[in-house]
Amino acid sequence: MIQGAYQQSPLRSNLYVVWSELVKNIKSLLAYPTIIVFWAIFPIFWFIPFILQGQAFVGGSESASFAQITGSGEYIPFIVIGAVLNSYVNTLLYGMGENIRKEAYQGTLDYVLVAPCNQVYVLIGKALSESLSSTIFAVSQLAISVLLFGMNITLGVIAPVFFIIILLILGLYGMALILAAVSLMYKQSYDLSETIGYIFYIFAPVRYPIESLPTWAQIFGKLIPITYALIIVRSIILLGADLSAVYLEVIALIIIDAVLLLAGFYLFSWMEKKTRKSGTISHH
């Protein structure tokens, strides 16, 4: 069997590594069904207070002030879209770094890193499994929100929204790789992930339009990939715009993705070599 695997073409072998990593992570997730149910349903409870707050403050489902800033006064779909896209941040940003830390805790990181394959493909497998689980959770949250709050989503928006989500995921992969690299070297990456999560939560337009922030904070927010993803997806779903109407935001998102991915891969390879040399890979 092992010999057979070696005889395969490099591309097939690498794809096999990605597939095996994906299957392993999904099996690990399936071993905890309560966690699946939790992530599929409970993030909705985190944004329900914002919807109730809206009802108390404006007395209906539309806000004139919101309409002036964003072009649409409907704050419920605004909040739902923000929360669903932000769930990718929660799972991808923390997931990748934590996934590597988990291997260290379980004592399997050494074996993974000495496996005769390019480690980048192991990371791609981890990233794909995180994206798959994030997408399942996001679709579930969106479906429940559509039923609960009566949101209208047409089939025509699915393809462009899916395209933007892929771009968002790529940017988050880049950030997650940087965090994974830091977690290899400095171990306690949790605080760093949490701090980045805080920055995203405040400076990105997850709960409110970015225009509500002071100018300096808006500039900072525009360096974060989810800011563009939220602006584009809300324009498509709430204002009925197509991708050509928001092409500048799409280009900005692609540029940020490229920078983050390059920095992520470079940092991870560098840190991996460094920790191998220092012999601290499985320390935790």
Binding site: T34, P49, Q53, A56, F66, D191
Partner: protein, 297 residues
């Protein structure tokens, strides 16, 4: 040192029993030491310490900015119609200020035992001649003080950035309500820590309970916007009456949405949650010991 070795060992493991002043003093000392231990651990990780201090502010800001964006200013006509005062900043701040303490009960207290299990120190703590509840209360004391410091930071930043109009003369009765609420929340926290003893993935239960309590508590909206069933359910948790009571004392012209005598309501809830918490904790403790599940995770 005239005593034999056997006698000396027996003296060392002589556990205090019965309710008397010297035992109570010993228990309070154990509670204090558990609190000090947690502060020492916290100061060993300064980045984590600072992050946790500013986290109450980080979670308050989205509620505030969103509220201001919704009404396009600091005054909401609709809120004024519902509760008599439309000051968005004062309403959200007074609500969110208390929410942090639910986190104290659910996370810090509820997970104190779980954390000791992760560190591998739970068995050592369990064999010390002190009450298990004393350990939990020590950790609760630490997290309450921690949360108070975080709330003060919130207060200063919100006051300087958005301006905050609160009635100073209402601070004392508000603190009384706060103390009664904390008593009931401690009971709730003890229940959660019992859950942490049994369930491997206890954080799922804690987070779910926290989310439900967050919705049932009128943090960023008056209770009246909730469906009737939810309004009735909110009376079982201390945060809803406490928030209504505190706002009545701190916000000018505030019209309480529900609840009669808040002090009496909280006193009953406090006694009920504490008794229920102790009962659940004792039963769980016994069950876990019998099954040998103490260090499993």
């Amino acid at each position: 040192m005239n005593k034999s070795n056997k006698e000396h060992r027996l003296r060392e493991v002589n556990c205090p029993t019965g309710f008397n002043w010297s035992n109570l003093k010993a228990e309070l000392k154990a509670v204090w030491q558990a609190n000090i231990k947690d502060w020492k651990i916290e100061f060993a990780y300064p980045v984590s310490f600072i992050r946790q201090l500013i986290s109450p502010l980080v979670f308050l800001l989205p509620f505030l900015i969103y509220g201001l964006a919704l009404v396009g200013g600091e005054y909401s006509e609709n809120l004024a119609q519902l509760v008599g005062n439309g000051d968005v900043v004062a309403f959200i701040f007074t609500g969110y200020m208390l929410m942090g303490f639910i986190g104290t009960a659910v996370w810090a207290m509820g997970f104190s035992i779980r954390r000791e299990r992760w560190f591998g120190t739970l068995e050592a703590i369990y064999v010390t001649p002190t009450s298990r509840l004393g350990q939990v209360l020590g950790m609760a004391l630490h997290s309450t003080v921690h949360q108070i410091v975080g709330t003060l930071i919130q207060l200063i930043v919100v006051y300087l950035t958005f301006g905050l109009a609160l009635k100073i003369e209402g601070v004392l009765p508000a603190l009384g309500i706060f103390a009664l609420m904390m008593l009931a929340l401690y009971g709730f926290g003890i229940v959660i820590s019992a859950v942490g003893l049994i369930l491997k993935e206890g954080w799922v239960v804690s987070d779910s309970l926290y989310s439900i309590m967050m919705i049932l508590s009128p943090v960023a909206y008056p209770l009246i916007v909730l469906p009737t069933v939810a309004q009735q359910a909110s009376a079982l948790f201390p945060t809803a009456p406490a928030l209504v009571g505190i706002r009545s004392f701190l916000i000018e012209n505030y019209r309480a949405e529900a609840f009669g005598n808040v002090f009496l309501h909280l006193l009953i809830l406090g006694a009920a949650w504490i008794l229920f918490g102790i009962l659940v904790f004792k039963l769980t403790d016994k069950y876990v010991r019998k099954r040998g599940m103490l260090t499993k995770f």
